[in-house]
Subunit: 330 residues, 4 copies
Amino acid sequence: MKLEFDTDRELDIIAIGRACIDLNAVEYNRPMEETMTFKKYVGGSPANIAIGTSKLGLKAGFIGKLADDQHGRFIEQYMTGVGVDTSHMVVDKEGHKTGLTFTEIKSPEECSILMYRDEVADLYLDASEVSEEYIKKAKILLVSGTALAKSPSREAVLKAVQLAKKNDVQVFFELDYRGYTWASPEETSIYYTLVAQNADVVIGTRDEFDVMENIENGNNDETVNALFQHSPKLIVIKHGVEGSYAYAKSGDVFRGNAYLTKVLKTFGAGDSYASAFLYALLNGKDIETALKYGSASAAIVVSKHSSSEAMPTVKEIEQLIAEREAVTNQ
Amino acid sequence: MKLEFDTDRELDIIAIGRACIDLNAVEYNRPMEETMTFKKYVGGSPANIAIGTSKLGLKAGFIGKLADDQHGRFIEQYMTGVGVDTSHMVVDKEGHKTGLTFTEIKSPEECSILMYRDEVADLYLDASEVSEEYIKKAKILLVSGTALAKSPSREAVLKAVQLAKKNDVQVFFELDYRGYTWASPEETSIYYTLVAQNADVVIGTRDEFDVMENIENGNNDETVNALFQHSPKLIVIKHGVEGSYAYAKSGDVFRGNAYLTKVLKTFGAGDSYASAFLYALLNGKDIETALKYGSASAAIVVSKHSSSEAMPTVKEIEQLIAEREAVTNQ
Amino acid sequence: MKLEFDTDRELDIIAIGRACIDLNAVEYNRPMEETMTFKKYVGGSPANIAIGTSKLGLKAGFIGKLADDQHGRFIEQYMTGVGVDTSHMVVDKEGHKTGLTFTEIKSPEECSILMYRDEVADLYLDASEVSEEYIKKAKILLVSGTALAKSPSREAVLKAVQLAKKNDVQVFFELDYRGYTWASPEETSIYYTLVAQNADVVIGTRDEFDVMENIENGNNDETVNALFQHSPKLIVIKHGVEGSYAYAKSGDVFRGNAYLTKVLKTFGAGDSYASAFLYALLNGKDIETALKYGSASAAIVVSKHSSSEAMPTVKEIEQLIAEREAVTNQ
Amino acid sequence: MKLEFDTDRELDIIAIGRACIDLNAVEYNRPMEETMTFKKYVGGSPANIAIGTSKLGLKAGFIGKLADDQHGRFIEQYMTGVGVDTSHMVVDKEGHKTGLTFTEIKSPEECSILMYRDEVADLYLDASEVSEEYIKKAKILLVSGTALAKSPSREAVLKAVQLAKKNDVQVFFELDYRGYTWASPEETSIYYTLVAQNADVVIGTRDEFDVMENIENGNNDETVNALFQHSPKLIVIKHGVEGSYAYAKSGDVFRGNAYLTKVLKTFGAGDSYASAFLYALLNGKDIETALKYGSASAAIVVSKHSSSEAMPTVKEIEQLIAEREAVTNQ
């Protein structure tokens, strides 16, 4: 099974949401208190996906708001450098700052982050800064859940979704849940449900779907049945090392295995997964193959230091898939 | 043409939103600076509709939040007194106040209001205070647009709409636009569009539909065509003294005339209209007849001092209709 | 003992702080839930004192901020009407509202108020709106404690005190404590202490001095000894029906008795007391006599319906004193 | 001329205010956009002074609030490690973050900083967390101006000053102006004036005294004459490379020269100056000698990469003074 896209669009994908700075521990395998040096990368789920898809050769654009400072300028320069269309990234004029994520890598299994998300520029994206002309140039609008966490960014995203649907742009909703910023679990659930019901494709971990439903230990079948009453036609639920499932409205279910790898840290897995999955779908691969691309891309990124710079090429992804299939088929 | 309702529900209608205090000028036909005495009434569009429908014999409930003070207690006592089920009106415990509306009646044509809406209790209704068990008892959930103006009331209403749809409760959206509290016209437009697309019936003045579309001088045909792509099956657009139009998804259009009357003030017209319109629909009247009930009820209220206490009985409404039809048919 | 004032100043007193609206129960001796009509008066402690002293023939000015609406205009018109110089009352341009006080009179002993103080215009008085040229025209700057409850009004008052001291304007601090708006008892204590230490004269009830010291059941001697380490030269502590004490830095203590009267409500007693006390001091009366003027003025106001309109004339005050002295001397 | 201190106190100095993280450019002499790695140090003026004086052998304590995260714990561990008494550093329980300062060193003359000060833990120090028992253990309370920028830290500092004066603890006010956080220049001026008038010693650059007076190009004589009407007995005004002036209430004026040095960056100069100046005064040096200690300490820090770790020892300071005096006396 394959998804169909309107080939007559200038951009493959427009991502909307945050573009931030990651400050990754240079000295790792220790608590952050003992890390004395940090290396700077562009970060933030939708920025990573724009960068990841752009590196894979897709035409990616971005809608977001940047701080008017050195960090904001670095992000804009970096994203332009890898080929992302940054013409709709606006610069904040009210003194808001770039979001920061300090990473702590105690061990491959014990990773945590320390986020600076108070009054960050990306959450001040305003609905008036979202352009219908721009959105209708894309095959896909990729919405990151965290952009719904606060006004006015929340309204900017809701408007983008309304415009996408009006103009037959497919809405991909990457749940990307970050507890920070949300007022309550109930608030998250309400907006996640609202956007998921209006999306064409919904992607997230099982934990994130639980957040959407405001329940614990949710059930995939119940989740997809409820959403298939509305717009979604494909729902991908990821279960970590146990792999992922893609549910189609038709009733088909596809399973994707995780590729084992030497893990340095777990950050960035979801974004690299989404990038390669999108790449595969847009290149006419069937869903089963797209799941492999996602898994392979994730496996590569978790073995490296950054989330954005480590985004693999098509060749690297396909090579990993080929190697693993060879092993499996022996 | 008639609307169908599930007869097997305990309540005819649950209204959600604000219940406030009106302070009406005792000495009128002058600027408010010269008014020295004010009379107290329950006010707020959804409270007026709950009161109005209850006086007409419907079983009405209310979901809202009241200040923990004398004004809050007065509202609860008054609404209970006219038969509204107030079991789901919660009392604010964080010191928020009751919304106030001082009315200024310079002349029947020059009415204005002075609203106190900062930090009011009704806007602090929380999603956790909206019960699925309660909502599914009703035939109709009546949503007032002003309750969408601010969090957490906004999320409480969005949740109520999600629960209503899940439980086949018909959603009536009374646009009820008040400029106060909203952050921007664009924000209003986004949430009005979102709820209108999910409603079964949408009611408002032409000006209010313009607010929903964030345009000037909008066109009824374009408005209803856009909404009929989504859930609505009936849309009522009011044009003041020129009467109102009811558009059905089927393509039928019904016109309702305004009944001329001796106007004291213009406040309360919309709420009394909605109350009688709802009453008629729920009693199996066809849409044309329901429009007459609405117009007659509005005509009665604008000739009196209050919005809530002045809500007419069925007999008064039917008597006015009969009188006017007699004149028309001569 | 008498206080000395610079006779070469254009104004006797400038009060700074809030000018609001009182909505007094027309039907009283009942809970407010049962009061259906309210009468409108100018209210707020410093406004009442400006009005009260103006009615007594002093030249009074006012520094404050008014809402740009019907209530704000009413206040400005009323205060100008009774002779207060309102040239330094500025009009808010950001949509803030006039503070409101609904009064509940269950019985002469059971009075309570319901205040609307969220986002009120008076608390938005900005330091940039306080003029040194104006302040130095006055003999006395009267500071009301409530104006310290929140920024930017807090800073406007602190600036006014700094300017008064720089220009030898005597600072009278009327504690006027209202629990509403303050973040914590500790915060109140810090700013009350700070302004009291910089004032020439401090006036308050024993309860209000307890608030200043953030203690319970404080002791007058300890209170005045601590303050006399700083600027104050006269401290008046009021004990309700038991009368009041005036402590001079010299060590002298003066006692003033309360005049019994037929009480309608307790509101306004403090403001009328302060007005007449100020009047007497400025007219060269000794402190003992000034205490009598204060008590007589308070006795008159508590027997009437309003706080501002009921402010007595000199003749009424002196007549009451004469009557009571006649009785006492029998 | 020497200052006298109560020798019977357990601690030499308690500093109050912020303890934050500096992230210093590892690759410098370039714009920050091109810096990819940052080194972590403890920062913030009063923390630097506590660290600096502690390294010089004084007994230093600190009152402040730390984030409940890795950065907060690093600060606490580092300060304890260099001998600062951190028993009154409280841990924030409301999710506030550690303040951050990214430094940009384009050239020794072109240094700038990028501060993260929104919702930082240090500004949430509460007055209830300031202990009279602790403050009265110290000879000196060192107040940093930035801690006055916002409530509730502002009130915590005002309380600390009130307690210090009540207990004869000398108040040293280091103006330490940072434009960030303050609502307006007027607001800064009001609180700077208020604390300066209550301090024993005031230290700042000429620019910072201009901020205090809310003027441009202020005059030292006018500045000190105004302050000497109040509590201050010593005022130090720094003029960068032109050296500094110490004005005594007695009328004496002392001049201190700056020591030229190879400058890496300008950060940290003021804090190292204050640390050594305090050390010298507390060790019975006269004011002229204390000015030399300040200048020598500043010269050492600006030649090194950090502000806190670079704080010199007494030996280093005295050696630099000796070397320079030798040159001067040739």
